[in-house]
Amino acid sequence: MPNFPALFRKVKSFSVSIREIILPFFLWMLTPFLILVAAFITNGIIIFLFGYNPIEAYVAATKVTFGSLRGVGETLVKSTPFLMTGLSVAIAFRCGIWNIGAEGQFLIGALAATWFGTKIAVLLPNTPWIAVPLCLSMAVVAGGLWGIIPAVLKVTRGVNEVISTIMLNYVAINFVSLMIDGGPLQETSKTGPQSDPIAEWVFLPRLSEFLPRLFESHRIHIGIGIAVILAIALTFVLFRTTFGFQLRAVGEGAAAAKAAGISIAHNTLRVFFISGALAGLGGAIEIMALVPHRLTENFSPDYGYTAIAVALLAKLHPLVTVATALLFGALAKGSFAMEAEVGISRQVTLMMQAIILLFVIGSSAVKFFRKRAL
């Protein structure tokens, strides 16, 4: 005979969980979803006004991104830099820090990885088990330190981080150019503005090395796994640790947090380091995982700025960022198909990102959505 009271309690608790957990979650997810729908429609109308067929364009983009295993793999590969920089922005914005510098931190991370992969790795020949983690941590430290600069300026001199991070982006862009165009990291043949490829044993392993039949010549690499694990870890840190609590408290209201004894300066420094480190790691993963494995000019197609859209659309939640990064990766991948089949410039994705951002702003101005914001 079944234990009816216990079963009843279970059913009841299940219905409670629907009411208290699942339903609010769907309501919480409603805003990003509606924003996306609205952005796709708006963008479609603009595409239509330009005389292209938006439905044809979207179908072409979807087919190439999710239509095959290879397409999904490519989408994952494309979304990794969006995820890394998106996480970087999300964690900073959570703390009320307007880090617009993911672009520069990404580049500095890539630069560090290139330096390690071309100059230092030769000292450790054929030792991927040492070289790869060392190279990644090099990028983490470099990106983090680059992120610390605006933090120090803010804490000690009261410099607004929006402006300082924008300026540092351009310092980083020109510094990279300095290094690879006439500088010490330029390729040995000195022909173009690019570095040598990094040493082979610093490459990130690909899935095709472990499952050659299933993933033959796919570009899926373990950097994607690293990024997703980091997203999960950051969720834990944000919502289940004292540090995460302090960080969010500063973001919600610096004055109240300060009154509660939380050090704003400490948090600013720590968050900026983590934020920079994440973006830097993203840059290193791109260098170490993807052909041609070298640093070139225009290495980042505005990842750092797109990251703001990625993070805000995800309501600054690290786990949701995985989903939005995937979407932006799909957009990046799909844009090539749109260009090839419909003829519209693939930079239309930048327009799409901007429309998403504007809808995010617009939605937070509407009361219904504001209650559900963040």
């Binding site: 617009i100 924008i166 351009y170 165009d181 410039s345 901007a354 951002l357 504007l358 702003i361």
Partner: protein, 314 residues
């Protein structure tokens, strides 16, 4: 080349390079003085560059007037972009940093889509009527300075004439005083019965139009054609210039010249075979801006209410 000719060349290039930066920065000074931080200048310049060039392209039969119409359209398109900014930043009180980023991304995508629509993927460079060199009578006859200072296209002179105008407006008119008060203490402006939203919107529209004209300069005077992404960060340099110029129109023009010098030198360094990498000069403006912000090169005081949306109910 003798040293005089080199100096003359560098001075002339400095002024030409500074002009688009100055145009955009003058607008930004007014906007920031009103309390709006517009980091979408880059986008507005790009939009202006595209539409200015498109305007001159379609009105090419008017020959002399074509670039003027182009410049007008450039300014207007910048103004429309700024109106979009104003709607989100002032009407909806959204975050100005996010909106500025969105405007820049929007312009980067939009201009490229339009360009490809008009001229296809390969897009051969279409030359349009542009602003020709205009030697100021008499003044251009002065040795050395004549060629360096008074043999430019007309926009260069107009841009530098605007500097005292903006200065006069901000510091010697009642409206200018109110604009500045908007950026320092918006509540005070509300209290005396002026509309903070209106003042900020007007300032922002002015900034947009100026950025558009600055962009138009690039595609109508600097070179007679448009290429996607041709502003190459000049909008952000204009932002740096405003800070370096400490939110003051005259100091801003000095800063624009300094940064123009950076451009002039970087173009010429390799030609002279000097053994310094030109990227140092490209990096300098941004590093200097950081130094100014940190107070190592005199203290810069940003307008108090800069970047803060004004909510009258607070």
């Amino acid at each position: 080349m003798d040293i005089i000719a080199i100096l003359e060349d560098i001075l002339a290039a400095t002024i030409r390079g500074a002009t688009p930066l100055l145009l955009a920065a003058l607008g930004e000074v007014v906007a920031q003085r009103a309390g709006v931080i517009n980091i979408g200048i880059e986008g507005m310049m790009l939009i202006g560059a595209l539409f200015g060039w498109v305007g001159s392209f379609y009105f090419a039969e008017l020959l002399f007037f074509a670039p003027w119409i182009g410049l007008l359209i450039a300014g207007f398109s910048g103004l429309v972009t700024a109106a979009l900014f104003a709607f989100f930043a002032i009407r909806l009180r959204g975050d100005q940093v996010v909106i500025g980023t969105a405007i820049t991304l929007l312009a980067l995508g939009f201009t490229e889509v339009v360009y490809v629509r008009l001229f296809g993927q390969t897009g051969s460079l279409q030359s349009v009527p542009y602003f020709k060199q205009f030697d100021v009578p008499l003044l251009s006859q002065i040795p050395f300075f004549g060629d360096a200072l008074f043999s430019h296209n007309i926009i260069v002179y107009l841009a530098f004439l605007l500097v005292p105008c903006v200065y006069f407006f901000l510091y010697h008119t009642q409206l200018g005083l109110r604009v500045r008060a908007c950026g320092e203490h918006p509540k005070a402006i509300s209290t005396v019965g002026s509309s903070v939203s209106l003042l900020r919107t007007i300032s922002l529209l002015f900034a947009g139009a100026m950025a558009g004209i600055g962009g138009g300069y690039l595609s109508l005077a600097d070179v007679p054609y448009f290429t996607p992404g041709m502003t190459t960060g000049r909008g952000f340099i204009a932002l740096a210039i405003v800070i370096f110029g400490k939110w003051h129109p005259i100091k801003t023009s000095g800063a624009a010249l300094l940064f123009g010098l950076g451009f002039a030198l970087d173009n010429r360094f390799q030609a002279f075979g000097w053994d310094i990498q030109y990227q140092w000069f490209l990096m300098l403006p941004f590093a200097l801006c950081l130094a100014v912000l940190a107070g190592f090169v005199g203290k810069a005081e940003a307008p108090l209410a800069l970047g803060k949306p004004y909510d009258p109910s607070e």
